[in-house]
Structure formats: C-alpha cells, structure tokens
Amino acid sequence: MSKTIAEKILSAKSRKDVRAGDIVEAQVDYVMVNDITGPAAFDEFEGLCAPIKRDKVVLIPDHYVPNKDVASAKQAKKMRDFARKHKVRNYFEVGSGGVCHQLMIEQGFVAPGRLIVGADSHTCSYGALGAFSTGIGSTEAATVFARGVLWFKVPESMKFKVDGKLGRFVSGKDIILTIIGDIGVEGARYASMEVEGSSVASLPLSDRITISNMGIEAGAKACIVPPDKKVYEYLRTRVRGSYKPAFADDDAAYSDVMEYDGRKIVPVVAKPFLPSNVAPASEAGVAIDQAYLGSCTNGRIEDLRIAAKLLKGRKVHAGVRMIVVPATKEVFDAAVREGLVKVFSDAGAYVSGPTCGACLGGYMGVLAPGERCVSSTNRNFVGRMGAKDSEVYLASPAVVTASAIKGRIADPSEVAR
C-alpha cells in the first residue's frame, strides 16, 4: 500500500501500518524546548515519576536571551538549572547557541526520516531536511522528556509542485509566501505539506528551510521537502547518529495537489496583518522606519550574503534603522570571517549577536506606535514586533535590503547592479 512521507515516517516510528486519520503513539527522536516554553515543561516533568530521556532532550534559550529583564533572566536560569540537575548535555548557552530551529539543524539533530517535536510552532522548519517535525505544547514536551513517545493524528497530505527556472531575486521566501497568499492562513490546516518540483530542487537548503519554516503560517502540521544530495552533503560532517530517508510512493493519496509555475513567481511582500496578504514587492510602495534581517526564517549566512552583496558600498536610507541578527553563533562567525559584518556596519546597519529578539516583539528592535518595518521573519500579526498599530511587511532578504536602501518597500531589481 502506497504512502505519503508523513504516513511513512509515522508508520516507522510507531511500528504500525498507519494512514491519514489514524491516531498513534510514536517514538520521538528529539524534543526541543526554548526559554519561553521550557519552564512550564520543567514544572510538569518534575511531577512525573520517571528519569529524563536525556539524549532526546534539547534545551535552547533564544527568545529573551541575553536576558532582557529580571523576569526573563529567571526563566533562562530555570533552564540552566534544569540542564544541570538532570545532566542534559544538549543545552546551548548564550555565546554558543542561537535561534533554536537553525541551531537544531546546524547541530545535526535534524535528519531525513526523523520524528522531531518542539515546543515552538516553527519546529516544522526541519521538514526541509526530510524530517517529520511539528510544534507541540510545554505539557506535551514534558511527557516526551519522560516517555520518549507522543500521540499524533496522522495528517492528510497536500502536495505542492513548483516547476521552472526562478527569476534572479526570487527566493524560497517568495515561493512560500505565494503559496500562502494562494491557499490562505488555514489552507493547509492540520495537513502535512509536501513541497517539491524543479524550482524547489534548484534552491539551496537555506531557502528550503525558509519554505518549511512558514508551513505553519498556512496552518500545516508539517512541511516537508523530499531530501536530496544537498541535504546529505550538508549533513555529512554534522549529523548525530544514522538516518533513513523516507519518500512518498508515486501513487500515494493526497487530499490536494497544487501546481505552480516557478517562472511566474516574483519578489513579494506579505502586508499587515496576515502572512496571506501577499502582493508584489514592486507594488507595495510604502515608506518604512525599520528593516529587520534575521530569525529562523531568514537569518542564515546565505541570507546575509544576499543582503551584503546589495548593500556593499551603499548606505541604509537616512530614515531607516536596519537591524541584522545572525541566527546562530555559526552564522555570526561566518559573517565576521567573510567581512559581511563590516559591510553592514559601513552601510549604517546595526548588527547584533544571535537572539529571537525583535522577531516576536521581545527586545532589540521593538516598534513604536504607527511605525512600519519590512522584515525577513515569518509573522506580521497585530503587534507582532511591537505596538499594536505598528506594521510588519514580511519579505525575503533581498527585498528587505532593497527597501532599507530605498527607504520604502522596493523590488531588488531597483538596486541591482
């Protein structure tokens, strides 16, 4: 009997032959919590009478670290204390870590065919490497600490095929925003998205992570790209343990199959206040106060390179603050090594160390009432990056940078050389 990738992985991990709609308890490879969702999981875990499944647990402080105030300092300390008490080795202190999802991938926890859960909604990012990964709550995470298993409803799958040569500045961000603009913020609700086709295969892994990262913004439970050589090559020096890729059978059952012509996709923005509110970047035309480049969506070295190339020898527009936040220490170090930090600094951009920071309106770039930000992040909900009447336009690194130079939302071709 033929199966989708989701059905294959959940069958393998539950040692049962399961189909969409079945409910199973399945073995989880890794469970991740961050400094916001961790503390509740720690409290719940202490009420369970079992030793911790130490090697499956990954603890990553990233949302409010370095601590933004006393309350967040207490939360981060709680995670540090829990890691010590239970001897959890997979704990990443400030200075060695960064934004959880990028770190999970860099550190080799993520691999094709794995089942990974995280108490953070963008855990679906790991689908870019062929894993089935999904966001869960803190209470559930605590039970996984203790039992190593969790219940899942096997989701229906939807296939998205994107074929054709992409235009010069068209990125993974433009592909996923175009899809979400098309199907809406609950167009893939509860479903597992499988995103494939020649346009997707042509993208670097970095852009595929952007696509999987934003699956949740269409309501998806998982967002999987069939793994290929680019993934195996990336993992060669970093993966922990062995792995077994899973692929869909040719005649697997999909609740929907959607096809896109990659040649027709253009650089876009998602206007406030929904990621589905998509329009071509060239038509937005509004003035901006801030340009933010960072996050698990687009804070990788590939993203910083695109921005630096456009910015080199230029200045950020006088009316704009540009804030650049490499997602992890590895990205930060590479950006220093490659001279990108100097390019940003010379252009008048502010560069910080890794943190979630302003992505969720935490700190380091929060917006005042009425301000407008073009951002490489994944959410533009009401008040997401600050005051409730501030506005966030979601876009690719190229659009964010072009806009920073122009002082208004701009298509990258306007500043291309």
Binding site: I23, A40, I136, F381
Partner: protein
C-alpha cells in the same frame, strides 16, 4: 471535565492568534492567575475586568493560530473561561487545550456578547439560549476522549509510567 457547561458569550472573529489572546510581553510567567489579567488585553480591552467564571469564548475560523504558547489556553483558563467554541482551531492551540483540560469545540454558532451559551460535551450539542440556535459537533475520537476522561495528558502519562498516587 464537566459534561455540561453554561456561560456568557465573548465573541471574537476569524484568525485570532495567540498574540491577541496573550501578548508576548507577558510570557515571562506560566501562572494562570498572573496571565489572566492580560488575556485579550489588546483585542478586548474590557475582557479581564468583566469576565466571569464559566464564560464561553465564541470564535470564527482558525482560533489560536500563531505561536505555540501554552500561555494562551492557560490565560483563558485563569480568567475562568470554561470552553471555547470556534468554527475551526489552529492545531497546536487545539492540542494544548485538550492536554490541559480546556474543552475546545468545533461548531458554528452565532452569538453576540453576553448571550447565554450552553454546551453538552458528550451529546455534541452547543446552543445559544438567548437566540434558540443549536448546533451539533463531532464527538472527540476515542483516544482523545480517553485523555479527557483521565484528566488530560499528564494524568494519563503518570498512569502509563506507573506513578504512585
């Protein structure tokens, strides 16, 4: 979990995300009672002052979308909300609520602020007593019902682990 619920309606629209249920700046605590005063702070400024134990949130499509924060169902529970009825829910919010013991029901029911809403969980009926409208909803699948009967995921896990008392 009580089978029969009754309370006054608080009505919200489509795509209410967890930032609207509890703004990110209050995520520094997990205490239901500390979160409750900030529930719906921006979306319904009078909510925290006027909410009463047993009140029911009636929502549109995709309620609870956005961040996976469990603070959202906890804030509502802390405020005394006994149930959320929505045309549809975002997946993580739905799971979190079930795992914590907050009944969440997918049904389409029309209401305005203050209408009296009644829900019979096992029979799968939601009713607006102020307008007379009734709506049926699909009962939970057996595994989910079992979780609810045991009081949520934690009691179930304690049982599976053989924890004492």
């Amino acid at each position: 979990m009580k089978d029969h619920l009754k309370g006054r309606a608080w009505v919200v629209g489509d795509n209410v995300d967890t930032d609207q249920i509890i703004p990110a700046e209050y995520l520094v605590t997990m205490d239901d009672k500390e979160l409750a005063p900030h529930a719906f702070e921006n979306a319904i400024p009078e909510f925290a002052k006027q909410v009463r134990a047993g009140d029911i949130v009636v929502a549109g499509r995709n309620f609870g979308c956005g961040s996976s924060r469990e603070h959202a169902p906890r804030a509502l529970m802390g405020a005394g909300v006994s149930c959320v009825i929505a045309v549809s829910f975002a997946r993580i919010f739905f799971r979190n609520s079930i795992n914590l013991g907050l009944p969440v029901i997918e049904a389409t029911i029309h209401a305005k602020k203050g209408d009296v809403i009644e829900v019979a969980l096992k029979n799968g009926i939601a009713a607006n007593r102020s307008t007379g409208e009734e709506a049926g909803f699909k009962a939970y699948p057996p595994f989910v019902m079992m979780l609810i009967q045991k009081g949520g995921l934690v009691p179930y896990t304690r049982e599976m682990l053989g924890c004492k008392e």
